[in-house]
Amino acid sequence: MADKNLPMREALRLALQEEMRRDERIFIMGEEVGMWQGTHKVTRGFLEEFGEKRVRDTPIAEMGIGGLAVGAAMAGLRPVAEFMTINFAFLALDAIINHAAKVRYFFDGEFECPVVFRAATGWGDQATASHSHTPEPIFAHFPGLYVCSPADSADAYGLLKTSIRDNNPVLFTESIGLYRMPGAVPDNPDYTLPIGKGKVKNEGSDVTLIAYGRAVSWCLKAARELAKEGISAEVVDVRWLRPLDTDLIFESFRKTNRAVIVEESHQFYSFGSEVAAQIQENCFDYMDAPIKRVTQHDVPVPFSKPLEELTYPDHTDVIKAVKEIL
């Protein structure tokens, strides 16, 4: 079947729509998901198609949204709860971490919790300090929860379906910077992707660039630029922060012997920290250079445009890091 070309927001919308048509137990809830058509328009037209029972506008009450979704999931529904942005999910940390991630364990399997928490993640447009987080590693810290963050339209489509169909709780984040980015999407309503499996998005032999979400696009751009200079960079998109595809990371590293880990968020206790530790513990004999981390500066995100731009890395920082270890 021919692929469709869709921006990521439309790929997400299609995945959610097809899943809701497939399974009556799925409902969505969140701030502005219905009448307003979704802040990021991922749920555009859903209220008209599915009605108020399955498309539920909520009050601005993230603790309630998070906990209510957990209870409904335990009781047999399949909620897709949207946090308008991941920043607001901080208010629901207890519901996500202490309840969604743990009810199965502390009751020793008595209940399932098949909830998906969707949230827009990332920065841009001078959103300022409290609205500019990319905090997936915080959530990935805790066992019991899966954390997924797609880097392109096809993955967004398949990974969201996978997350909805799985019986474990999933935090599913969507980079604001990718919503408009077009990409091919398979014309297959049962297109799913395995949990905890990443993908090599560009093959290479000199260095491995490891990332998730929007940072993958910086890595791909860096790889293209580096190729012009005869440097061959492999790009590993982990897709899932938990479970993390360490097999794929190690396989690539053992081939290239060098790695740069790239992420939008802070460096301190980061995705890069975990991946670097995993590599040195498991691939020490293959290391030819220190592992580099490319991240944002260690400051809250400022408003002023030049300062905001200065805060974040892009493909040029990736190229610079690669050249430092070659």
Partner: protein, 327 residues
Amino acid sequence: MAKPTKEMLLDWYRQMTLIREFEETSHQLYFDKRITGVYMHLYSGHEAVAVGAMAHMEIGKDHIITAYRDHAQALIAGVDPNRIMAEMFGKKTGVSGGKGGSMHLASAAHNFWGGYAIVGGHLPLAAGIALEAQYNNTGAVVLSHVGDGATNNGYFHEALNFAGLWDLPVIWLIENNGYGMGTETERAAGNPLLHERAIGYDVKDFGRVDGQDVFKMYDVMGEAFEHCRNGGSALVEAITYRYRGHGVSDKQYDSRLAQELQDWKENKDPINILKKHLLEEYKTVNESDLQAIVDESRRIVDESVEYAENSPFPTTLEDLYSNVYTD
């Protein structure tokens, strides 16, 4: 509300004495260091609240959820006392395989959605369970216990707002025992008439009830169930008293309030109130009948302790790692 029958009253007496025996035995076991850990919250003194409320639950249809003071709800719901006690000991045969402990008892088979350890954390879960009942039109009602302390926390207010906004069939049963840990309700709540919090959320306010009197509990809860059965949320504030500290390790509490505690025990004990009623109302019920019920409760609890002590601990990595995720 139809008057409860003699058989019902005797069953309530059985439930209340079983809870009391279970809790006081657990207390002793804790101080004998046979039950370990730091968290265990006892229900002694509160018995009439849960017994009078849960008497209205339709078995296999309605739902019960509570916080960490959860032994009584498990016992009333019909969970095997042996497996409850084994959980207190952290044994593999416990209801939660030793992974939850005293605060995390649950049984899906009994529609007992468990005890939860974060103050207020279970309240939106209760609303979510009620949403499923409404979504699938099951006619079920969710009974959610909540302590007075939790009514000051954001979870309570967000959950009540959802319940009022969406007409979710959930009863919020506040157990106001006068203290959130060691802080008096009046020192924690802007308006200490906690039931009035229902009004702001269009949840039906059933006011305050004497939580020591199982008949009064039964009557008001019957009305609350009926209200929710027709679609909507209800709130009841039961005034009660706990005979032990907030948690079993809070020892100073008992001595600080010795006089107050003695007054409640002597004049407002829920088991005595029911016993007095049974003896006065029914000539066919005598002291020895009631003592036989206490003895049977004693026997069940003794047996549960024996079962728990003879059960194995979970010890393997397989035990440790099971049920983090589902396959």
